[in-house]
Amino acid sequence: MGYGAGLSGLTSETEQGPPPWPGTHHVCRAGCPEGPHSAVPAVSQQRHLCPSARGDVHQLLPALPAGGAQLQPSVCPHLRHPPPPDEALPGSGVRVKKLCELQPGEKCCVVGTLFKAMPLQPSILREVSEEHNLLPQPPRNKYIHPDDELVLEDELQRIRLEGTIDVSRLVTGTVLAVLGSVRDDGKFLVEDHCFAGLAPQAPAPPLDMDRFVLLVSGLGLGGGGGESLLGTQLLVDVVTGQLGDEGEQCSAAHVSRVILAGNLLSHSTQSRDSINKAKYLTKKTQAASVEAVKMLDEILLQLSASVPVDVMPGEFDPTNYTLPQQPLHPCMFPLATAYSTLQLVTNPYQATIDGVRFLGTAGQNVSDIFRYSSMEDHLEILEWTLRVRHISPTAPDTLGCYPFYKSDPFIFLECPHVYFCGNTPSFGSKIIQGPEDQTVLLVAVPDFSATQTACLVNLRSLACQPISFSGFGAEDDVLGGLGLGP
């Protein structure tokens, strides 16, 4: 076959033999910056820069159509009945009013924060209350109920909402504007409503070649699933350029960043029962997360040696519970932190990669909205949060969140180009357009431990492609594992 250059190549000092093995050169990783990462500081660091608090709706008034006196149908896509042209003229027609200024029967527009009163919502006060003597509620999939009611609150007052508004879909914490009038019984009859809409977006600089970002979430280490371990190893091997032939390896070299979006450890590493046990029983036992973190360290070492990695914590990871979650501590990764390509970042995380703005969470915001809303698709919820211009409206009501009182860092000041959330049950991706030429790629990154699927985002074309890994099992269900079964 002639792959040997022969011994002659060795005896001569100056001559160099031809490469006998094709494809054994090295491809350089695309997009490695000369210096440190050019990542925009994470949302958590920006909270002191945010100009206004969540309860204060005035910040959103500029986002509402100019003049605030009318609702322009172009800005509010939910507006089903745009006001007739004469009403849209400034100075006449619909005005934006505060709740205290409302007159019965007068058509006006009110901006406020929504509160949804849900009887099924778990309430610690109700549980602890002795007079009710209730047993704690079992955790449900969704807490919505036909008896839910919407209440609109502004700085001073609150008012019940009724009418053409989808109660089950909305959640507490949404800031919206409602068009309608107050009835005599004190409830506000809603004719239409609209949200703040997409934030302004700075256009991304065009790229000349394909660059990819790999989004993975839910590695779920320590969960005991052998199948997913092989999948994880295959993922690492593809990214580090070991698997695949030369063409594949060349493509893999164009992956310029890997973002691990949370839940690196499995739910079972949390071992909550040891908290309740007596100390003498748990003294000698090691937490399940210790082994899992060691495994994670090795995986991160392999990845960081080959590609810049951003690690976001998730719901089951050893960091604080409330949003924004702080980065995992580098002392947990003694092997991997030797590489400067490893970046431990917060959740939610915001970064600019090759000029493309990424913003994403590990999925706690979306799954919390899922529990309290009738929306079923995680991608749909993701889009909804973008349109409401708030990453996590339900925080801090039902989702643990740091009590920001001056400014709310979860408001979108600027629209990202790629908006993702991790740990969804299945892959989803969509490109949406905004009224001001905003283009956003929404990615629902699936849980890797369950789906063995990761997402490859092409920065040049803003397209997203799922990539799945599988081994083979005893039941010969290779095709099924790949999703190719009959």
Partner: protein
């Protein structure tokens, strides 16, 4: 002939040792580029099938491709058994790549053992995990830890000085320092030992990607960055040599290796000498080792220097107390080896570590031999010469 060597080794791994030979395992074991390892496996399968010698071979493949699912194009990467390969390929709309993933004697029920094999070999090579991969990242430079051990510090100091030396030597030789993006040139040549040694050192430094200068490198063959550039021969020999090193002196193998021993000795010891540059005795080692290499000595001596360097590489904190014989080996190499093991003040664990820590895993049976031999005299029941027994007893007491 070169082909024969690696083919035989794969043969040995698969049939004799009944190992699962994955491409990654082969790559680390032989110290070759992953693509090279894959091709080696493929060649082996082809030849074996052609020969039809009746030996059962089960092969697993890695298939990757894309297909349209749920409205978008999905990329799939899967490890499949040979019998399912065609079925999977037919389902994919575009087959991007297919290559051999592993070869084993027995039919695998599931892919668990593949993962275990890969994981084990990776664990023992964590520090240079992307050494043989196809992608190098310029930004992935391991930081020197602030609380480095004294040896590491020494090493880095010495490495710095040797770096400057090396670069000057390199320019004298007319080789430009390779950039990280290009395929680095590995100067060959058995003769110019200094030049080669300096070159390999400078390679280590000039490669920004894996500056293992800061870390103690595992003893690996000199094929670090450019296996594709004709160093395949040295790799083969390097690999072959290292395989044979631990084999205690199969005389037949020695005869076979006779011709090639010179070359692998060079390539094998180069990085090892480069790596523990900071350690105390290595400079002393260099001289006798070189002399030994020039004479066509058996693999044992190199083995010891390798062992020693490997041992010290692996046991950074311990001071080396091994005294290796500088004299020529005697006829009875077994006994001499035992003698040496006894005279050292290191404990049995260290010796065991020596054998087990070398990551060119020789045959399991072979590995046991030195262990047993080392155990033997300690227990005092080895079937060795009387002199050795006496020595062993005194050694036993001396150790305490």
């Amino acid at each position: 002939m070169a082909d024969q060597l690696y083919l035989e080794n794969i043969d040995e791994f698969v049939t004799d040792q009944n190992k699962i030979v994955t491409y990654k395992w082969l790559s680390y074991t032989l110290g070759v580029h992953v693509n090279q390892a894959k091709q080696m496996l493929y060649d082996y399968v082809e030849r074996k099938r052609k020969e039809n010698s009746g030996a059962q071979l089960h092969v697993t493949y890695l298939v990757s491709g894309s297909l349209v699912q749920n409205g978008h194009v999905c990329h799939k990467v899967a490890v499949v058994r040979e019998d399912k390969l065609e079925a999977v390929k037919s389902k994919l709309a575009v087959t991007a790549s297919v290559h051999v993933y592993s070869i084993q004697k027995a039919m695998l029920k599931d892919s668990g053992p593949l993962f275990n094999t890969d994981y084990d070999i990776l664990k023992s090579n964590l520090q240079n995990c992307s050494k043989f991969s196809a992608i190098q990242c310029a930004a992935a430079v391991p930081r020197a830890s602030e609380t480095s051990s004294s040896e590491k510090f020494e090493q880095s100091n010495l490495q710095v000085s040797s770096e400057t030396q090396a670069t000057s030597e390199l320019t004298a030789n007319g080789h430009g320092p390779p950039t990280s993006k290009q395929i680095p040139h590995q100067p060959k040549g058995i003769m110019g030992m200094f030049a080669s040694k300096a070159a390999s050192k400078s390679q280590d430094t000039n490669k920004e990607t894996k500056t293992e200068a800061k870390e103690v490198t595992n003893a690996s063959s000199a094929s670090s960055k450019a296996p594709g550039k004709g160093t395949v021969m040295s790799n083969f020999f390097g690999k072959a040599a290292m395989n044979k090193l631990k084999v205690n002196l199969d005389s037949e193998q020695e005869v076979k290796e006779e011709k090639v021993v010179e070359q692998p000795l060079l390539s094998v010891t180069e990085p090892k000498l480069a790596a523990p540059a900071g350690l105390k005795k290595s400079s002393k080692k260099a001289e006798p080792v070189k002399m030994q290499q020039k004479e066509k000595k058996k693999g044992k001596r190199v083995e010891f220097s390798d062992d020693e360097t490997k041992e010290t590489v692996n046991m950074k904190k311990k001071r080396r107390r091994l005294k290796l014989p500088e004299s020529d080996s005697s006829e009875d190499e077994v006994t001499e080896k035992v003698y040496e093991s006894e005279s050292c003040t290191d404990s049995e664990e260290e010796l065991k570590m020596k054998t087990s820590s070398t990551h060119r895993p020789p045959a399991v049976t072979v590995k046991k031999e030195p262990k047993e031999e080392r155990k033997g005299p300690k227990k005092g029941t080895a079937a060795l010469g009387k002199a050795n027994r006496q020595v062993s007893i005194t050694g036993f007491f001396q150790r305490k």
